[in-house]
Symmetry: C2
Subunit: 220 residues, 2 copies
DNA sequence: GTGTTTGCATTGTTGAACAATAAACTACGT
DNA sequence: ACGTAGTTTATTGTTCAACAATGCAAACAC
């Protein structure tokens, strides 16, 4: 009889819809979002849509220029570098200070299992999602609502930068077992080693992503 | 000719007004903000005010409950602890990785000078502001727009927790010279020592603040 | 070709209206 | 007197239509 979301207001629901549209690529980076057009397409009022725009702008998914409207954010290299810097800082610290029996550890294990299953089926997009949730769980080890919130935003931005390329997500496949090794270290109480492993993990991931981004920019 | 704020839209201006009202205590923590009343008082439309509410909610200054309205956030001990944890993480890291001739160093020096002047005049509220800007400058050393943004939010939240008690801000007086010493270490290239000094600095500040908060809670 | 002006599309903002929800209040039965 | 059920009232959620303000582009004059 109890609902976890007691009052799913229209703004929130719409925000989630647009987030999804951005992640799936239905709304490409740089695309301009007209208030009038979108509000009609989503069957909501312009005012409500403007509230949603404010929401997503603060989350970093939309870019807003006064008197010019909003468009889907286009993450550049500076954004990638910034995001990975923050990931190294937050995730590694969370691992170092992690409490052995934290509930989030369970979630990390679950996502590894899921990633393996999806990988065996060749669903690399789902593998990417599981990988993302794995790292979210790492941040949740910190028990810091503000850091978790920040991480949610930057991981969404990262997904936007990735685009929805399956071959790019396939690049994440080798990380599955690295995640498992990382969890093993954590469960053995070797927090510092886990943190260092994650650091080099993130370095490598950053380099790969930057290279792909540069190649893509050169083509255009 | 040039304006630093090319298009000061009403939402932004109003948001700043409310931020100020919150900081000065004109809007006390826990106070409920009626859409109808406030919109009339500020002479803006309800729709516009709702956009402002969304803004400030994301910044952590307002608390929003669907179908119940918004009220000024009431930072509890958990919030203080979380904020200081993040400050230690972000500020110390910024100091460690700081580039010697970063423009923000200049700003740090400026705020120390200002703090001394205000302190000599007994204007402890202004000292508190200068101290806050000093730490903001530290975060700016990181050159991370996302971290700077996060820091802006949590420092505003911290100010809210402080209340507008002058005697509380006077507690910050001894930190003026600590800031100066910290800057000196940084200018000598002793980044690691500066970071460690800041860490104990923050520990002490956190303890003081928590103690005051607990005493205040006991009185009520 | 450059600069100005005009017109148009989009955003910024408003006010009023109605539906949906929560809180306050009343009436009732025991 | 007490708790419960139903009703009233105030507030929020959402929509709509309108107008002002801004930016962009095309037409125009020199």
């Amino acid at each position: 009889m109890k609902k976890s979301s007691p009052a799913p207001v229209l703004s929130e629901k719409t925000a989630e819809i647009i987030r999804q549209k951005i992640i799936t690529g239905e709304l490409a980076p740089g695309a301009r979002l007209s208030e009038a057009a979108l509000s009609e397409r989503l069957a909501i009022s312009r005012n409500t849509l403007r509230e949603v725009f404010r929401l997503l702008t603060q989350e970093g998914l939309l870019h807003y220029e006064p008197n010019c409207g909003v468009c889907v954010a286009v993450p550049d290299m500076a954004a990638i570098i910034d995001i990975y810097r923050i990931r190294r800082l937050i995730e590694c610290d969370a691992l170092r200070q992690a409490w052995p029996l934290h509930p989030a550890v369970e979630r990390m294990a679950q996502q590894i299992t899921l990633a393996r299953e999806h990988g065996a089926r060749g669903d690399w997009s789902a593998v990417g999602t599981a990988n993302m949730l794995f790292h979210t769980a790492i941040v949740e080890l910190s028990d810091s609502p503000r850091l978790v919130r920040l991480y949610r935003h930057i991981s969404a931005e990262l997904r936007l930068a990735f685009g929805h390329l399956d071959d790019l997500e396939m690049l994440h496949a080798p990380y599955i077992e690295k995640n498992a090794a990382l969890l093993a270290l954590l469960n053995s109480g070797k927090n510092e080693e886990a943190a260092q492993m994650l650091a080099s993990y993130l370095d490598q991931s950053e380099r790969t992503l930057l290279a792909v981004l540069q190649r893509r920019a050169a083509q255009a």
